[in-house]
Symmetry: C2
Subunit: 334 residues, 2 copies
């Protein structure tokens, strides 16, 4: 029935057409008492963790995901990085006039299904439409609110010699998938984005008694950026063993061909987790129980010596410094 | 020192340049313990009200305001509409590559100054940069979290005959100001946008013992949309007395020339407030004490007869129906 229907400026006008759209396509899907009250804001209770993100990836659909899945996963992964369980979300849509209606519904449905799976309630939102040609496709802003599961805040500041660094899987699939969708690179076969919600995994890890000191999802800036942020926050030296890093051979081959640094490629379903030495084995074992983190491995450790440095011990036995990526070398991938 | 400097893609990359930018231009300005902890999310406490909005107005600067002021005021006005006191905010910036650095700082500064004035803490944010030509200027997404000041939630559902409808000032200045900035209309002189934060006004109203049944800021869809939403929520008939509506003569003249319906023009600093008959006089008196709401007036009343209808008694004594505006008749104004 919605075949060929286009998003019009009216849809974001605040008038009847947008009011009806919100009732029909948003509220009926995400229905819950807070959303249904039709207020300008939403009453919720409790002590909590808040995160926000904007998603502007183009094209909006790529192998293994789309901007809606990305938005939800980005939000819950950020909350998980704060050791919190996602409870509520807000959603802002900025849509180009003329955008395909069915594509929009697909995006909204995917968010809704993930929200249902993880029992996250949409509590308020906003929809704007921008004149054709004045933006490209759709942007999504999302704010998440979660309840902290630990009795301390992440990231901690104090690390000690021998704390272990865990990476939950291979690197770079998301970026490669989006670059292919953009037509920026070509290869045979399919590499699916790694985009995935990791909040369930982290919740389980904490329930099992692991006390993480640092959790961070590997997004823009890649593995290098996360490690450098950790080094900055803890004022510590980090040693990474390249041999231990899980590798997707297809991604590796593409990086070799195109000259990409795999350590600065964004993922959307991978975490870096720091735990004390004695908890590392248990943590990896819990993580491996989940499909989305079955590739988990200890990839390095902390040398707590008041020097901010990330050192990579290469496959060939040499050592090199992993710097913070300087700036954007790739187009929008989230 | 920032003269001529342009926003680059690097600024939103998640790499060093963006990390430095955020530290230098965002965190140093909005500094507070929660923001300074550098987490992916923010720990906050308490029972609360949440609101979110995206702002895409173009041009970003217009007589009487800019997109930053608009974002902050929109957020606190939404929270005030829920009878809550703004406490925390998140801020997402999506910026076109090549955007003027000084303009960006002006926008951020204006938000920061308002946040300081109303003691609202920025607790997390996100910055993305989009390729030149793939969007226009800057978009801002903002989520606000506030503490409810009443022992009941707004809007209430039950209204009674004689409940009074208050409008806090003249209509349409914001839309006219933006249309002029767009070059869509021309006139001599200056009409400043009405954009203003009304949270302090509402806080005072409630402190003075008034128990509002409905509060809504007049934004997209204008006065007509707010009244029709009220009529829908309460399942009630509303009678508005046109003679009582505060008028800006310049705006009225421009509407007459260009054929705009003043009742569907967006404001960004006006509220519709419903109170019981016996509280109306006191409410107007409290509102008039503030510069931003000194034009407050009782403009109508509720006829609680299970019929959703908004009736306007015109200047000439006739009656006409104020419908929900159908869709966007005007370009982006927020």
């Amino acid at each position: 029935m919605n075949e060929g229907k286009k998003i019009s400026l009216s849809l974001g006008s605040g008038g009847k057409i947008s009011f009806d759209f919100v009732k029909k396509e948003i509220i009926s899907r995400f229905s819950n008492p807070i959303l249904d009250s039709l207020g300008d804001g939403a009453n919720i209770l409790n002590n909590l963790v808040v995160t926000t993100d904007n998603f502007t990836v183009h094209p909006e659909f790529f192998d293994g995901g789309n901007i809606g899945i990305l938005s939800f996963c980005g939000m819950v992964n950020d909350l998980a990085s704060m050791a919190s369980k996602p409870m509520y979300m807000t959603m802002g849509l900025v849509i180009e006039e003329g955008y395909d209606y069915k594509k929009l519904l697909k995006i909204i449905d995917d968010i809704k299904n993930l929200a249902d799976n993880f029992d996250v309630k949409l509590i308020c939102g906003d929809t704007k439409v921008v004149e054709k040609g004045k933006m490209e496709g759709i942007h999504i802003s999302i704010t998440g609110i979660g309840l902290r599961m630990t009795d301390y805040s992440l990231p901690v500041k104090n690390y000690k010699n021998g704390d272990k660094i865990i990476l939950t899987g291979t690197l770079g699939e998301h970026t490669i998938s989006v670059l292919k969708a953009k037509g920026a690179i070509e290869f045979d076969g399919v590499i699916n984005s790694d985009v995935a919600p990791l909040c369930g995994v982290i919740e389980n890890l904490i329930k099992e008694g692991v006390r993480p000191k640092f959790i961070r999802d590997v997004t823009r800036g890649g593995f290098s950026a996360v490690l450098n942020e950790l080094s900055y926050i803890g004022n510590i030296e980090i040693l990474i063993d390249e041999e231990k890093i899980p590798v997707n051979d297809s991604v590796k081959a593409i990086c070799d061909i195109y000259g990409y640094d795999i350590y600065s490629l964004a993922c959307e379903g991978r975490m870096v987790i720091v735990v004390e030495d004695e908890e590392a084995e248990k943590a990896v074992s819990v993580l491996k129980d989940f499909e989305v983190s079955k590739g988990s491995s200890v990839v390095g450790e902390i040398l707590s010596n008041d020097r901010q440095l990330v050192v990579l011990k290469t496959m060939y036995g040499g050592k090199t410094i992993l710097d913070m990526p300087l700036g954007e070398i790739l187009p929008r991938i989230c």
